[in-house]
Symmetry: C2
Subunit: 136 residues, 2 copies
């Protein structure tokens, strides 16, 4: 009894129960990956701005580009990413393409995260910057 695998952790048997119960809560790999994919998609300032802007009303590519201060090409690339995740949809009208939010969850996700940021994330940011600096 006790140690199942080689010398990994002396007190293995103590936390085995915890590991087991924790493993049960883990979503299946596919869901985990999808989850991470969505968060990674939201993990870019440009895309956050796009989604915030579109939360008001639909906008065309060139207006988004002007709003963001980046090229229309870069904007289009980012919109492609957002489209691939079904976060935005678009409607073609002549040569224009009007984009809008495709998913209601996203807005509440961002608002929830914003609440987190506005609360006690100040020390967090300091810590981050300290680490990032010392890493260079």
């Amino acid at each position: 009894m006790g140690r199942k695998e080689a010398d990994v952790c002396e007190i293995y048997y103590v936390n085995e129960v915890r590991v087991r119960s924790a493993r049960q809560v883990l979503s299946p790999e596919r869901e985990i990956v999808s989850l991470a994919e969505i968060f990674r998609t939201l993990g870019d300032p440009t895309r956050v701005k796009i989604l915030q802007a579109l939360s008001v009303e639909e906008l065309c590519v060139c207006d988004l580009a002007k709003l963001l201060g980046i090229s229309e090409s870069a904007t289009s690339h980012q919109l492609r990413v957002l489209r691939s995740q079904k976060l935005v949809r678009f409607r073609k009208e002549g040569k224009m393409a009007f984009y809008s939010l495709d998913d209601a969850h996203i807005d509440s996700l961002m608002k929830e995260a914003l609440r987190h940021v506005r609360e006690g994330a100040d020390q967090g940011r300091e810590t981050t910057e300290r680490i990032r600096e010392s890493a260079e």
Copy 2:
């Protein structure tokens, strides 16, 4: 009146109102960056698993490593990232370090995102894979 900048978009004046109102909703740059940072932190399968596991109860590094199937070093590296964002905290007991969630928002964030994934993200994933394939 009308066109403010050089030849960017012919119908500039039409959507100027939209751009203006959309710009008002945008959070200040610092908040946007913080928001994106948090999402980017959540945008990794390993870290998602860590947070899901810790949502049950605190775990030490070596148990997390076993649970995740990666090295303790990699686990420690990821925990450092999560710490820097104040997403987890740790308690030292002898040579062990027990980690637990530091923020209640995070769990609800992940659950909200999970709801999004479980709904209609299937087509989304197909699209993503199609794009990823054609990009190689």
